[in-house]
Amino acid sequence: MILDAKIPAGPLAEKWSKHKFNLKLVNPANKRKYNVIVVGTGLAGASAAASLAELGYNVTAFCFQDSPRRAHSIAAQGGINAAKNYRNDGDSVYRLFYDTIKGGDYRAREGNVYRLAEVSVNIIDQCVAQGVPFAREYGGLLDNRSFGGSQVSRTFYARGQTGQQLLLGAYSALNRQIHEGKVKMYTRTEMLDVVVADGKAQGIITRNLITGAIETHAGHAVLLATGGYGNVFYLSTNAMASNVTAAWRAHKRGAFFANPCYTQIHPTCIPVSGDHQSKLTLMSESLRNDGRVWAPKTPELAQKLRKGELKVTDLKEEDRDYFLERKYPSFGNLVPRDVASRNAKEAVDEGKGVGGSGVAVFLDFAESIARLGEDTVRAKYGNLFDMYMQITDENPYKVPMRIYPAVHYTMGGLWVDYNLSTNVPGLYCLGEANFSDHGANRLGASALMQGLADGYFVIPYTLGDYLATIGPKAIDTNNPAFAQTKKDVTDRIEKLLALRGTKTVDEYHRELGHIMWEYCGMARTEDGLTKAKGLIASLKADFWKNAIVLGENEEFNSSLEKAGRVADFIELGALMVEDALQRKESCGGHFRVESQTEEGEALRDDDNFAYVAAWEYKGEDVPEVLNKEPLVYENVKLTQRSYK
């Protein structure tokens, strides 16, 4: 199958404006005759639902949380990038575009990324107009900081709660449209399938999480803004209920899933404290500006520390290995996320891990405290130190912090073209749920930018073109596809509820997480991935035989909710492994041990792998088919990253 990304021809800087002019418009009087379904109310979903309703379309929006304001965008801390160049420090749309392409290790589309950089400036204007309280300077203008290794200050922020403030802005715009009657909002409602009738997405099937009612909703188009799939690893910085079900169900109805193996692992998270652990907490990577990462020099010393026979503060300087400073003298502790994470894993794998579990390394502020004084360190990082103390009950002013990398973001997702349309007509995908803009590695402060770009400034233009083409005729819900899809959903629920085995769904989820983390995490090998394939296949078979799913459909049933999500994660896990196997190169967050430079860094293979891997579902237990979309670079030169 030929994948057409529909990138407009012409010079990079003119593509989007020309494309906007060429898109068909819907007559204002006709807009109210269209119904648009939006699933998910995070930054991408809420901004899209509000903006489309403002244009005059009827919107039906869905979230599984008890309020649209609780989508996981709310937890983003750091900030949002925009090429405003308010600092006069040399930023520009082109520079933001270039940084993003390079940061993604040359595995994203030029056309998409340039557009993202271009609309970034409008996002900030929009949010300020909504009353988002960004940080300001004494002169009253907006403050900026540099972030994620960028050489310019282009990150706008609202203390450590930027995601929350941006989401509340989008939520307020959504509320206004609910009040106007242009958006019908369904909360505590989960999408369980998409209805594809006559080759087009025309509706969804949902389950009311309180009553269990299975309902059909028809629409001229379906927009999925359902977030990432980091919880396939069980432990991640995602919220507990973040899941892949909507995207995965769409995949099984024909939408291609692109680059599933691209996942981002953030280096400075609080380590796992025991088997009971349910989620991981991230601490801003700004900590690496003053903290020094180290592990004991030998496994014997590490063991003594773990057993409490030796105190960390008594460990002699020559017995400490500041491994990032040793291996990367010019970047030291400030190497990019993927490099820092991989090196911590290596230390642990060599038996040098610390803490009760032995799965952590130190992040030490003793030298900074001696140099700057405790007060200065407190002023810079006080809130992070407090958070660390709250969780670990250890005082990082006195003993080094323990850190370990954690799954944080997924760059892969449903394949979309330049219009954010999947290969199924009428089915669109926005925000983290799609694959499009971050390549193989996302830069800090770029996730919020992409979610809002898609929702506020891309989909309101591109969706109109499709709607104008199909016309405003009412959707025929008598099409047998509606009844059939609904039946498929209820059959699956019955199948799940029939499971009265011996292992809880959480136990399966944890086991899947162990497999994914071990073999498809920070370092991946042909052997390991092959092994994982077998393990996941047996896990899947075992799940459908021995899982315990209690209760019935017609009630608030968390056991059933989880079971459906975990069943989908198991299938996605298998595809991630497949994708990691075929990509025999290292790039960004995907590190294949077989493909590294002499210094042990990620080695790309541009001749053979400069493509998007878009997977096509072919049926239960049939291998998926790999479709390739070649990546063409007309403006940037592909180079090897080095941090020595």
């Binding site: 609780r70 300020v128 203008l141 206004r176 009950d393 209760g551």
Partner: protein, 260 residues
């Protein structure tokens, strides 16, 4: 499952099948709990045991587990979000309790927050209050440059302080009258402080207060329990600000309200 913990606790938990049923307190044992567990992880352990026995797990709302989504909402030993100040339930750890202790866990209690199941309640009243006017009426596109209007840092910071509310409802649960004044006033204040919020300032205050009353929340009697229990330390000053705008709207600003 192995938890490697050494704390043994007794839990008294509110169980209620659904909104229509009567509820009651049920006693559970939570053994082998580690002090490093979060409170919700302790409940996870109890639930895993219940599922293994074929019993319905305890339903409670939770999601981000890092104190920002506002979903978790437990009334622990008579306090919303438990004994520690300025944190949510998901940030509470078991080391805040003693071995052998009995812990009482209830849902938020308020007429405007009906129980959905067990410890989960329906807080959609908060959404409806925001829908009544908690926004600046601007459409996407066509807005001025973000730096067109300078906003003094102290004002922006104060608006931010109001905007940190996570909408969890602890203020309502803490209040003997189940008043929602702290929540509503925080949202009204954020916009009342910023220049962008001025055109609709008085109509917004009226609309949101009217919706709050319609939802059946109680009156404010200035006890301050809401402020003491708020995980984000939202200040009572917001209530003063809201009352001021609401009264101004009633007495002197009817034209603004009609226009807005």
């Amino acid at each position: 499952m192995s938890t490697n913990g050494n704390m043994n606790l007794t839990l008294k938990v509110w169980r209620q099948k659904n909104a229509q049923s009567e509820g009651s307190m049920v006693t559970y044992k939570a053994d082998g709990i580690s002090p490093d567990m979060s409170f919700l992880e302790m409940l996870d352990v109890v639930n895993e045991d219940l599922i293994h026995k074929g019993d319905d797990p305890i339903h409670f709302d939770h999601d981000c587990r890092e104190g920002i989504c506002g979903m978790c909402s437990l009334y622990i030993n008579g306090q919303p979000h438990g004994p520690k100040r300025a944190i949510t339930t998901c940030q509470l750890h078991m080391r805040s309790f003693k071995d052998g202790e009995t812990i009482t866990i209830e849902p938020w209690r308020a007429a405007a927050f009906p129980v959905v199941k067990d410890l989960a309640v329906d807080r959609s009243a908060f959404d409806r209050i925001q829908q009544a006017g908690g926004y600046v009426s601007v459409n996407t596109g066509g807005v001025p440059d973000a730096n067109e209007i300078a906003i003094p840092k102290v004002i922006a910071d104060e608006a931010f302080n109001s905007a940190t509310c996570i909408g969890c409802g602890a203020c309502v649960a803490a209040c003997k009258n189940a008043s929602a004044m702290l929540f509503v006033s925080a949202k009204i204040s954020q916009f009342a402080l910023l220049p962008q919020g001025q055109p609709e300032r008085y109509s917004r205050a009226q609309a949101m207060v009217a919706q709050m009353d319609e939802e059946g929340f109680g009156s404010c009697t200035n006890t301050g329990a809401c402020e003491a229990e708020c995980p984000k330390e939202i200040s009572l000053t917001n209530i003063g600000r809201m009352n001021n705008d609401y009264l101004s709207a009633k007495l002197f600003r009817q034209e603004d309200v009609n226009r807005g």
